[in-house]
Symmetry: C2
Subunit: 196 residues, 2 copies
């Protein structure tokens, strides 16, 4: 069977993607990155989800890289866009995939993110795949099956699978409880139909 690597943040979308593949009996390998995000609490959710489902999981510490990236999420900036973040994480996930003989990396970007994050757009994934094809001897592609779906549609699919989203973390602030007010919390509440 083909192996697949899933870029897993511990948030709703990548959890849905990971569990969808896992529940369909696919051989999946999760990979997460500690890039110095202030909401590194998402990683503890990622660990728990993989342990609970016996999914092999790597957490790669690239926090030194986070120190040189200016954004509101890593400190030192105002924008929630982390410069080139998805290319950084996907490039490493692809190197890992090649190393274990997988031919695809699954990426849970969604259509709701396109307006703010250029590195969630289908055109970015398309060009990245061209670079991967030219830069490697092995076949490796990034697939973003949710890239034209809204976060709400993804959550609806997850609920149909019986997923429990309390096992995911979304808030950018990474406090004891979710703040309920950051951009990410707002998007989560909209997707899960939670009213204040």
């Amino acid at each position: 069977m083909n192996k697949s690597v899933v870029l897993f943040s511990g948030g709703m979308d990548s959890y849905t993607l990971l569990m969808d593949l896992h529940l369909r009996g696919r051989e999946v390998y999760a990979i997460s990155f500690d890039y110095g995000q202030q909401h590194s609490k998402e990683l503890t959710y990622a660990v728990a989800a993989c342990e609970q489902n016996d999914i092999p999981h790597k957490i790669i510490d690239i926090s030194e890289c986070g120190l040189i990236l200016t954004s509101a999420l890593t400190g030192g900036g105002d924008s929630i866009v982390v410069p080139n973040r998805n290319m950084i994480m996907l490039s490493m996930a692809c190197g890992y995939a090649i190393s274990i003989g997988a031919t695809e990396v699954l990426f849970g970007s969604n259509a709701s993110d396109h307006a703010v994050f250029p590195d969630c757009r289908p055109s970015f994934i398309e060009k990245l795949n061209l670079a991967l094809e030219h830069g490697n001897n092995e076949k490796i592609t990034v697939e973003a099956p949710y890239s034209r779906m809204s976060k709400r549609d993804i959550a609806a699919e997850g609920k149909n699978m019986g997923l429990d989203y309390t096992k995911t973390w979304t808030c950018y602030r990474g406090g004891e409880a979710a703040c309920g007010e950051c951009e990410s919390c707002k998007a989560r509440k909209l997707a899960l139909d939670i009213r204040d």
Copy 2:
């Protein structure tokens, strides 16, 4: 003046590139990566070269990433090709460049490397630039000015600039002295016209 980031391994080609810009009075920022290469000795040469020339220098520890990349250079493999290595390093260098307001990352790949390393080829850089354009709000490009020059031609240019290549490290084995026998040592000797 425009800032430039140079991906600097501590080897001959990127040293030539870095020094060429520096000697022409350009504002350059060097960045190096510890990816668990067995020849991490190259990094001590990179540090020394930057200190000696007062060039700002970042060394980013991504050695945990190296642990999941199979190759002869990181351990666990036979090939000297590290899967997706240059996309990994260039993606972080580009994130750094954007963060400091630079618009280009200089990459010292040469024509002699094309046969073995797909991620040194001009076609890879061209596709990577498309992905960078689509994945970022800021303008950022990777330039590989030596990509159609042989290592020997680059060294000739460096000698014309008065560069001293004993300040660079090439050997893959990273022992006390260069082994003189690995692929990298052979290429160095050919470029510098050193006979055994």
